[in-house]
């Protein structure tokens, strides 16, 4: 049965099979993390190519068509295939530990979510080798994308449909996990902020991804099966795509930024060595941001011509979001205020995050004013704004949390020294790149252009901006080197690596056993690890049950098979408009594989297995040596 009492050394095949079939949230977290890093690197290279092209006026480093493909894939990949999985990686690895659970609510679905995401992402990237990538921007407005020749847009639609389904499934899984799997005593108002933001961000996924699914489906049938949703000559309306896309698209940015807020709300109290200031207002602000996130989508469409009433309503709703976000910023500052601050690498990222994100937020409120938005629309000001929010908010959170959580996830550490270098190179590069783009936008440089004429006053700023982009790339390379070097560091093998851990995940001794908690913990208050330490508890945990048999889920290969089925079917749909004879059979075969796997899953009982007390003791001894984890 699974990996109990299996010796340390396993062959490559066995390890591979283990990862292909695993339902363990910690392994899936690692897989999400590495998949995310892979796509982050790809999208980063795309950005670098674009910045090289824009370094000097009238450049011919890449062609206009390729530039369109690069900008589309950069945006799509960064949002769907890099930021999302990187955050999912932390959610998977950390949230069950924070709430005192042995696994997520639906381990099988967790694995299915990963494989759908991964194969969808691979499918999307195959477009580069199969006749051209999508080239209508990450928003893929129907008026452009319906008439884009080749299969680029079809790859976009099908790839995102598959990976979007995976994201939705993972979202449902997180919601149910957080609702039902909390340890005794872990009430809603004792949950760490990262768990709260994971819950709210998963809720946003729950409500925001269906409109995307619907929009993508309309695009799919319009392009591949002759439907007329967006074709105005047949009564369709291209604005419908814009609405559906932004009903999804606006919550999507909160889906990404809320977990980032949560991660910083974990990091800041630990290194300020103070309780998080205003916990309940933080929770309230998170919920409010989530709710308002659904009421503001049309601020992306002020220039569409919805009329002054609609514009005014959406403008005011958008500005309202500044209030709960401001609450959060002040809470972070007041947490740091008067604390005994340790400036470690994660804290450095947090300190860099606050001013950068505020800058992005303030430009957001500027654009919320509809009349001003008419000036700023589709200019580089927009580009500067959302990069300040996304890089300044989300990427810093991801990098900082990699340093912060590395000991729990891998039982190894990232170098602090190299981390400080990475931070400064990346942070300075980031501001060089995007700060000047505000002014490029105000001077009238439109976004999404592949080149520009000299002597409009844009030359110098574009040049500096490109230098900054190269610095960011160097920063990322340093981080990757840091990750590689960490393999050689000695194992951590301790609890509470940072010494000031507050939430439950720091109470567990690393390496975390596959069942997480040998006994379910009893949570006696907010910040349970801190609480137990204050009371002199060496184990940092109070238990809710005696040592007993542990029930764990079985591994399964079915999630991978289901995802492969959809992957195959997507090729059939892709080539359908070409009139090839095999397109429909391929769709049927692909969907057949998926449905068969689903029926197998439904019919075959899966009771999981029990780890008996003796096996638990043996496993503890194997991990922590004689005496075990008392």
């Amino acid at each position: 049965m699974s990996s109990v009492a299996v010796s340390n050394k396993k062959g490559f095949g066995a390890v591979l099979w283990d990862y292909l079939t695993t339902v363990d949230h910690k392994k899936l977290g690692i897989m999400y993390l590495f998949a995310g890093v892979l796509f982050f690197a790809i999208a980063g290279v795309e950005a670098l190519l674009m910045r090289i092209q824009l370094m000097v006026p009238n450049n011919d480093f890449i062609s206009a068509g390729l530039f369109n493909e690069l900008l589309t894939m950069h945006g799509t990949t960064m949002l769907f295939l890099a930021a999302t999985p990187l955050l999912f990686g932390f959610m998977n690895a950390i949230v069950p530990l924070q709430i005192g659970a042995r696994d997520v609510a639906f381990p099988f679905l967790n694995s299915l979510g990963f494989w759908l995401f991964f194969l969808g992402a691979i499918f999307l990237h195959l477009s580069f080798f199969m006749g051209g990538a999508p080239d209508a921007g990450w928003t893929s407005y129907a008026s452009l994308s319906l008439y884009s020749p080749g299969h680029g847009i079809d790859f976009y639609v099908l790839g995102l449909q598959i990976s979007g389904a995976g994201t939705l499934i993972s979202g449902i899984n997180f919601i149910v996990t957080i609702i039902t799997m909390r340890a005794p005593g872990m009430t809603f108002m004792r949950m760490p902020l990262f768990t709260w933001t994971t819950l709210i961000s998963s809720t946003l996924i729950l409500f925001a991804f269906p409109p995307l699914t619907v929009g993508l489906f309309f695009m799919l049938v319009d392009r591949m099966f002759g439907a007329n949703f967006f074709d105005h000559t047949m009564g369709g309306n291209t604005i419908i795509w814009e609405h559906l896309f932004w009903i999804f698209g606006h919550p999507e940015v909160y889906i990404l930024v809320l977990p980032a807020f949560g991660l910083f709300s974990e990091i800041i109290p630990v290194f300020a060595r103070k309780r998080l200031f205003g916990y309940s207002s933080m929770v309230f602000a998170t919920i409010l941001i989530g709710f308002l996130g659904f009421m503001v989508w049309a601020h992306h469409m002020f220039t569409v011509g919805m009329g002054p009433t609609a514009n005014a309503i959406f403008a005011i709703a958008t500005m309202a979001i500044g209030v709960p976000t401001g609450m959060k910023v002040f809470n972070w500052i007041l947490t740091i205020w008067g604390g005994s601050i340790k400036v470690t690498v994660p804290m450095l990222y947090a300190l860099g995050f606050i001013p950068s994100f505020v800058a992005g937020g303030v430009t957001g409120v500027m654009m919320a004013m509809a009349p001003l938005d008419y000036q700023l629309h589709d200019s580089y000001f927009i580009v500067a704004h959302f990069h300040y929010v996304i890089v300044g908010g989300i990427v810093t959170a991801i990098f900082g949390s990699m340093h912060y959580y590395w000991p729990i996830m891998f039982n190894r550490t990232l170098s602090e020294k190299l981390g400080v270098w990475t931070f400064w190179v990346f942070f300075i590069g980031f501001h060089l790149t995007f700060f000047l783009q505000h002014f490029l936008g105000l001077m009238g440089m439109p976004r999404r252009v592949f080149t520009f004429q000299a002597d409009q006053g844009w030359d110098l700023y574009n040049y500096i901006s490109s230098i900054g982009a190269i610095m960011m790339a160097v920063g990322v390379v340093l981080l990757v080197i840091n990750v590689l070097l960490s393999i050689k560091t000695p194992p951590v093998n301790r609890r509470d690596y940072w010494g000031d851990g507050r939430s439950l995940e720091w109470s567990i001794q690393t390496p975390v056993p596959f069942y997480n908690f040998k006994q379910t913990p009893l949570v006696r208050g907010f910040d349970p690890c801190w609480l137990e330490k204050q009371e002199g508890n060496k184990e940092m945990m109070t238990y809710a049950e005696p040592l007993g048999d542990i029930h764990m889920p079985n591994n399964s290969i079915l999630p991978l098979i289901m995802s492969i089925g959809l992957f195959v079917a997507a090729f059939g749909a892709l080539y359908h408009p070409d009139g090839v004879s095999w397109s429909v059979p391929v769709i049927v075969i692909g969907l057949g594989i998926t449905v068969l796997a689903m029926i197998t899953r439904s019919v075959k009982d899966d009771h999981g297995f029990h780890v008996h007390v003796e096996e638990v003791i043996a496993e503890e001894q194997r991990l922590y040596g004689k005496g075990g984890n008392k």
């Binding site: 039902t180 809720t203 729950l206 604005i239 709710f291 609609a310």
Partner: protein
């Protein structure tokens, strides 16, 4: 964790109470079903009878709303206080309903040609 639970034989009184309670509950469900059928019938009837659309449209939407609430709270047991985290579930259902409201509003007002 797991699906093994303590198997407890109910006392005779408890068993009979549960049986009776289930039967009474089922009777209520049949009454609810009758109400739903009646509402459906009414909706079709007012359309066939040809009243003014100004009256019919809000009226049948109201009937649909009532019928959906009946389905959710009786057939789907959202009224069952013993349901696991039923309060959280209702919050989610009604949040969903709230979120789709502006979507409908936007699609019938600001998507125009």
């Amino acid at each position: 964790m797991g699906h093994h639970t303590e198997v407890q034989a109910k006392s005779k009184a408890q068993y009979e109470y549960d049986r009776h309670h289930n039967a009474v509950h089922m009777r209520k469900q049949v009454i609810n079903f009758a109400i739903m059928i009646f509402l459906t019938f009414l909706a079709f009837a007012v359309v066939v009878a040809g009243f003014s659309p100004m009256f019919i449209k809000p009226f049948i939407l109201l009937l649909a709303g009532i019928q959906v609430v009946l389905q959710l709270y009786s057939f789907m047991h959202m009224d069952d206080k013993n349901g696991h985290h039923i309060g959280v579930i209702s919050t989610y259902v009604w949040s969903g309903a709230m979120i789709i409201f502006p979507v409908f509003l936007a699609f019938v007002t600001v998507v125009w040609w």
